[in-house]
């Protein structure tokens, strides 16, 4: 089988890749590793903001992680916040500009380790912001160290024999913590391992942003992203490792929608 059948003329005309580039994505170079899931997640978010018609009314507070290498290419007004602090910064943005779409970007080390109280308090206050968690279960930027979401048994640079519950404690799931809080409208978790999962994640992002636009309170989407470098596996094994090792612990789907806990996820 040949990859491109040259015997027949194409049925649709060729498209320039630029025609498919989100308007909020700048052209340029970045330093993220091969196989990283974060660019797919961020691109999906930009696409959804554009589709919703809020491209020129969106603002962000972004945390610190590998994705910071990509934020110069996100053509969206933003504050570069400290590790853990993005939900509070977003609160200030939204309180002074309630007519704008305000979102945060944080990794698991940023949100679940350093800034857990910030995201929980912002959620309970019902701040009309959308917090996006890019969860790969490691501190990728430092080279693959344990975070609060590293799953049991996972090998990292400071859990060399795998995360041991008795010694290193247990992972924290944001979808366990957020849904019971009163100010929370929407909670979902997706992945970017397959085209189908990217499409689902885009749907979750759209619903979260729609909840914000509707004034329904706090909304949250966690995206499990591949980090073959931080997982110490070949690039091509990233999606499989995520599906086999991480997704069974951090289940995907909607956990709260329209302010109601999704019963099947209980």
């Amino acid at each position: 089988m040949t990859l491109i059948d040259t015997d027949r003329p194409p049925t649709v005309p060729a498209k320039e890749w630029r025609a498919r580039k989100p308007s909020l994505l700048l052209e340029g170079d970045h330093d993220l590793c091969s196989g990283c899931g974060e660019p797919i997640a961020l691109r999906s978010l930009l696409e959804v903001i554009e589709e919703l018609g809020w491209a020129d009314r969106a603002m962000a507070a972004v945390g610190i992680g590998c994705y910071t290498a990509l934020t110069p290419l996100l053509d969206v007004d933003m504050v570069q916040a400290l590790h853990g602090r993005a939900p509070s910064v977003a609160t200030g943005l939204k309180r002074m500009r309630p007519d704008r779409l305000v979102f945060t970007l944080q990794g698991d080390g940023d949100m679940v380790n350093e800034g857990l109280q910030e995201v929980l308090h912002s959620a309970a206050r019902g701040e009309a912001i959308t917090c996006v968690l890019l969860n790969n279960g490691v501190f990728g930027e430092t080279g693959g160290h344990m975070t609060a979401t590293t799953v049991l048994g996972q090998r990292t640079k400071n859990t060399l024999e795998g995360r041991d519950a008795k010694y290193h404690g247990h992972p924290i799931s944001m979808t366990d913590l957020l849904p019971p809080l009163g100010g929370v409208s929407y909670v979902a978790r997706g992945t970017v391992t397959t085209a189908r999962d990217v499409e689902r994640t885009r749907r979750y992002l759209r619903r979260a942003l729609e909840a914000q636009i509707a004034g329904d309170g706090f909304s949250f989407v966690e995206i499990l992203t591949m980090c073959p470098t931080g997982w110490f596996i070949p690039v091509t094994e990233g999606p499989g490792y995520l599906n086999d090792t991480i997704a069974p612990v951090f289940r995907t789907g909607e956990f709260k929608a329209d302010g109601k806990i999704v019963e099947t996820q209980k």
């Binding site: 340029g28 603002m59 969206v76 570069q80 400290l82 602090r85 609160t91 943005l93 002074m96």
Partner: protein
Amino acid sequence: MTRRFVEGSEAIVEAAILAGCRFFAGYPMTPFTEVLDHMAEKMPLAGGICVNAESELEAVGMAWGALATGARAATGSTGQGLSLMQESFSEITRAELPLVVVNMARGQSDYYQSTRGGGHGDYFHIILCPIDIHEAVEHIQLAFHLADVWRNPVQIYGDYLLAHTAEAVELEAIAFDTLPAKDWALDGSLNGTGGSRNINSIGMTKGNKGIEPERFWKRLQAKYEAIKIAEARHEAEFLEDANYVVTAFGTTAKFVRHVIREMRNEGSRIGYIRPITLWPFPSQAFCDVAGSVREIGVFELNGGQMIDDVRLAVLGAAPVAALGGISSDESGFGVGPLLNTDVIRSILEAAYERATGEEKDQ
């Protein structure tokens, strides 16, 4: 003009709102708490927002976001709470956001915390240190103006007495020069044009890979040199023929100034310098008297902090003596036995006699 008898905390809040402050976030802590009380009550009436933050870490973060939209925004606490805020102060400062901080300090032992930046990195805050509520009303308005002029945080260094005593003050808006529009403020309108903004502390620019910290931070240092020249403020009395000069700051200076005026009336050739800006420190005022005085006495209620700045100002041209010291009652809020004009008088008389060899005229 109408005068009102107002507690310091309330006066500061009303003056902040007069200055256009429309966002405040804080966490209660003595002796700052009443500032938050009045903000929570008065800010909504002015069309602004006051968030009762769940921690100081979050209060300063919220102010950070509000500032990024171009709003006049403030936070505050006392020394312990400001310790928690230092990480964000550093980022906000190096991102050139005009934060105003209301510090109701527990006495004078947080001079270093305020004047040395306080967090990581090379930066300073402009520190305005009012002697009384009348001056605090002026300073809080000046703080918002200077913060916008320099795009740098400004702190009001007050204390328990400033926050909790009342004075008759005129609460009127001060007219400052018109400032340029905040074209750096975020609103999303330039998204997708290639011109969107990233407010950050490390020289990140949209469309460009990496960071430019050296260029970015050198520019900040040039700004600090300009602030040192333009904004150092002080008050002085009786320097023309003084052979002894005492310096003090904040509420303590009110007690010291009273004693020095009494000693002057009784014939002592004693003078007084009060730094109004703790940073930039008014070094020139001390240089100017260093050659003609026998000693400069530093009366501060801490282990000896401002004395370093006085020594750096005179660089050995005059002896510099510590006259104050740690002084606190059981509350720990900085109102101790040394904050007493009789006690201060005996200390200043002894220092004057020792350094000048003159007993005061009887």
